[in-house]
């Protein structure tokens, strides 16, 4: 069981990491991070702050683009190119396939996030050696990765039944809505229309409140103390959504026939 899961995950990792477009994205991320040096130099005493903000933004954006575009074709490509026939005629469970695919892409995004993170930290090290800065940056990158895991799971879920184009639209749409979930809930509360209130509540509870992650990252970067409980709560909260999405993706794959 363990060997099968590892095999599928590593195969997916190999597939994505050997795609040259990935390196173009990483190179682009490096260049934008370097642009932070220029922007920082023309600011008044905000050089590190600009570098940090721009660096984190690019890690999140590049990671997100890769997660969406690779994730949405993850299962679909196997069906379209009929490699799924070779996989599902081996003694493996459908959940191993879905989870293996997810883990493979998660590993790939982890490697890219690590590369971009190390580059950013290397540049920041030219300006400061404060351990507070580095600890805050590492924690922030960790939370960006947690959010990216949710995006990968969402993309994997859609790729089990929708075309890549539809999956991209659904994934990006829900990802953005998940960022404004709390505003939607507030909007629903002040609305006089009952249907809108219920609709906003459904959206809020169906999707994770990613704005919480953004707020937490803001607190970390402002060097505010964050309790272990809130970090743990947010991590479990996101992992819960991952489990739900992957369970649904497995259920859909189990019901499918391969014509």
């Amino acid at each position: 069981m363990h060997s099968t899961l590892t095999a599928i995950a590593l195969n997916t990792f190999r597939e994505t990491i050997r795609d040259r477009i990935l390196y173009a994205f990483v190179l682009f991320a490096f260049l934008v991070t370097l642009l932070g040096l220029v922007l920082g130099s023309i600011s008044v005493g905000q050089d590190i702050r600009i570098l940090e903000d721009l660096g984190l933004f690019i890690i999140s954006t590049i990671g997100g683009i890769i997660a969406v575009f690779v994730g949405t074709s993850l299962v679909y490509k196997e069906i379209d190119k009929r490699t799924i026939y070779l996989i599902f005629t081996k003694p493996i469970s459908r959940w191993q396939f879905v989870v293996g695919k997810f883990l493979g892409l998660a590993l790939c995004i982890l490697s890219i996030t690590f590369l971009m993170g190390v580059f950013l930290l290397g540049i920041i090290a030219l300006f400061t050696t404060s351990t507070h800065h580095f600890a805050a940056m590492i924690a922030s990158i960790g939370f960006i990765y947690l959010e990216l895991l949710f995006v990968i799971a969402l993309a994997t879920f859609f790729s089990t039944f929708a075309t890549p184009l539809m999956s991209v639209l659904f994934t990006i749409g829900l990802w953005l809505i998940a960022h404004v979930g709390d505003s939607l809930l507030l909007f629903g509360k002040i609305s006089t229309n009952k249907a809108i209130t219920i609709f906003c509540q459904i959206i809020y509870y169906a999707l994770p409140d990613l704005a919480q992650l953004t707020r937490l990252r803001g607190h970390i970067m402002a060097h505010q103390l964050i309790s272990t409980e809130s970090i743990l709560y947010l991590s479990i909260y996101i992992v819960g959504y991952l489990v739900i999405l992957l369970t649904l993706a497995t259920f859909i794959t189990e019901q499918r026939e391969f014509q």
């Binding site: 050997r18 081996k90 391969f258």
Partner: protein
Amino acid sequence: MTNGVIEISALVKDHVSPFLQKRVRVLDGLTLTVQQGQTFGLLGPNGAGKTTTIKLSLGLLKPTAGEVKVLDCPAGSKTALSRIGFLPENPYFYSYLTGWEFLDFFGQLFNLSTNQRKERAKELLEMVSLTDAAHKPIHKFSKGMLQRLGIAQCLINEPDVLFLDEPNSGLDPIGRKDIRNILLKLKQAGKTIFLNSHLLPDVNELCDQIGVLHKGKLIAGGKVASICPSGNYKDLEQFFFDVISSCDKQSQPKISSSS
């Protein structure tokens, strides 16, 4: 009488179009048995239901009615799949892998140890004459090489039963001869082979028993030795044409002489 290795009884498969819910019967009460060590050739025109039969036998499709048992286990069960090898028609392989990595990956899906996988991959690449191309990316393989790699992949678990869907289609005469020789070796090794093919000379040379499928029904069958007593494939060709045309004549609507 002993139980067959492949037992198909009263198998019915309807394809239902997703939007209009239009039902088309692809297989209509197919019953056949393949005994151990036998090479069975399923013949039939395009769209007769040959590939559907294989997919149902492997659990890629679910039957509308009837049953398929392979090695006394329900089709698609892990126990059956662990002893089956399958080569799909016009297979697509992971182009980013090398031949060696490809076999290693499928070895992992059968939970083979690293040493077992190494030995098995070496042995199989030698058998299909791909040792020199072992570390070449698959996208550089010719059609014949891909087909031979496909056969190697379906033998990684030393299966008892092989399902081969058009193993010789699209190959040049040399490629066809190579595949035929490999299949003859497997037949001599006592493997049970279920083969779909349009190429009657190959069927004549390889198969012990044939069945003719037309419009989802098994309309004829028998031992190749009795159909082609001279050993010439032209007899098989004539037999095939005769049964198809007589079936078509019977199913034609009768037109009264007065009209």
